[in-house]
């Protein structure tokens, strides 16, 4: 399989380190697809939760959802999403609503980038 270039735009954090994640899961492409599906489901659930939590200023949920998305993103070697999730977790910890809103927008944007990246398969 040829190495795939990360869709580098304006020098931001890479979307996915495909090589690293494949190494982690023993090179099984089918399994990676399965994991991506789980991730997408998780992402949908967590962002829905986050939308609600931001409206309700529930910083505990913001922190927790940020934390688990961070873990999931790290597992699949998705540095950009991991960074955005980390910012979300921090926003929850620091009870910073503006930062939480920014982080959510960033998460959604990076998620679109990921989908575009996966669509190139």
């Amino acid at each position: 399989m040829p190495e795939k270039k990360n869709p580098e735009t304006n020098g931001s954090t890479p979307t996915m380190d495909r090589k690293e994640v494949l190494e982690r899961i023993g090179g099984d492409e089918d399994f990676l697809k399965e994991l991506m599906e789980i991730y997408q489901q998780e992402f949908a659930e967590k962002t829905e939760l986050l939308d609600k939590a931001i409206k309700e200023k529930n910083f505990e949920v913001i922190r927790e959802a940020g934390h688990s998305l961070k873990g999931a993103s790290a597992n699949l070697s998705l540095p950009a999403l991991r960074e955005a999730a980390w910012e979300m977790e921090m926003a929850g910890k620091e009870q910073n609503l503006e930062q939480a809103k920014k982080a959510l927008a960033k998460l959604k944007k990076e998620y679109q980038r990921l989908l575009a990246y996966l669509g190139e398969d």
């Binding site: 399965e34 994991l35 789980i38 489901q41 998780e42 688990s68 597992n75």
Partner: protein, 335 residues
């Protein structure tokens, strides 16, 4: 690229089942897949209480526990596991997020054996599971050896009866109970009559077989809490808890009858008839019962049983001994 040869499960890795306790579905699935690839049988839990339930299963000997979980957290599960009475050791690896400042010491003190930071480096996890395997195998081997040694140290290898040291310590224990609860305790000393003749006629292997089978026959006629031990040669001791002199005599007569009426196997399909001489005593018939006193009294009674023509029970207590002292001529006959 599919799994390489190095990913194939080895026999060694196949033995123990592993619990994965992780609330993050992605991490849980990744762990499950990798562990199955390596040949492990996997159990999954997405929260703490279920994890603890699965850990009760005896075949689950390894656990990968996420620190942060709904219900019970990793360290709590760990300390609950350690407090439980699971007979075999379970090896626990705790998972923590790399950038959280959880106290590793706290996790280890809760009873974890190892910890790893997330995201999981699977090569490292595989190596650590191998270590877990090695430790569990060592532990199992040690327990097995310990059991074997205990058997060797307490049983008489020929007859399967308790050995001399062990039956003595049982008698001491029962004497303690007698002092505490005033429950009487009987002791029988038994000799197989004409054992030397059996050995001379049929050979020592036959003699050994007779002894072994005699112990079996006696055991069948004892109560579950009675204990039979080998005193030396063909001599046996039988400890009879909660038995006064009267009951001790009844049990002794029953044993005497049983051996007298039943043939003893000494070779395949070859049997012989034998009789016993039994000397007995009990704590209620002794002024100051002690291990030495019990043995000595039963021994004297046995001596008299043989002297009077074998195949009989003689019981002694202090009062009997006093009478015996009066008949001094009887004692002078002792060789």
């Amino acid at each position: 690229m599919k799994n390489t040869n190095a990913e194939k499960p080895s026999l060694q890795e196949r033995k123990f089942s592993v619990l994965i306790a992780e609330d993050d579905p992605l991490a849980r699935r990744m762990l499950e897949k990798r562990l199955k690839d390596w040949g492990y049988t996997v159990f999954k839990a997405e929260e703490g209480k279920k994890a603890l339930e699965i850990l009760k299963r005896p075949e689950v000997r390894m656990a990968i526990l996420d620190w942060m979980m709904p219900g019970l957290e990793g360290p709590e599960i760990c300390s609950k596991l350690r407090q439980s009475k699971k007979p075999k050791y379970t090896y626990v690896i705790l998972l923590t997020a790399r950038d959280t400042s959880f106290d590793i010491i706290q996790g280890l003190e809760a009873g974890a054996d190892d910890y790893m930071t997330k995201p999981i480096n699977f090569m490292e996890l595989r190596a650590r599971l191998k270590t877990a395997h090695r430790i569990l195998e060592l532990e199992d081997h040690l327990l097995k050896t310990q059991k074997k040694l205990l058997k060797l140290a307490t049983l008489d290898s020929l007859t399967g009866a308790w050995n001399r040291r062990t039956i003595f310590s049982f008698i001491r224990e029962e004497l303690e109970r007698y002092r505490r609860e005033n429950k009487p305790l009987g002791l029988l000393m038994i000799d197989l009559d004409n054992f030397k003749a059996i050995n001379d006629t049929y050979g020592h292997q036959a003699g050994d077989a007779v002894l072994k089978n005699m112990v079996k026959m006696l055991k069948k006629n004892l109560r579950p809490y009675d204990r039979i031990g080998r005193y030396g040669g063909d001599g046996l001791l039988i400890l009879l808890p909660s038995s006064d002199l009267f009951n001790t005599g009844l049990i002794a007569s029953r044993l005497l009858e049983h051996i007298r009426k039943n043939k003893i196997n000494f070779r395949h399909k070859a049997t012989l008839s034998a009789t016993l001489s039994i000397g007995g005593t009990s704590t209620d018939s002794l002024a100051q019962p002690s291990l030495e006193k019990l043995i000595q009294t039963a021994d004297r009674a046995l001596y008299l049983a043989k002297k009077l023509g074998r195949d009989r029970v003689i019981l002694f207590g202090d009062s009997v001994k006093e009478e015996a002292k009066e008949k001094k001529h009887a004692r002078k006959e002792k060789p």
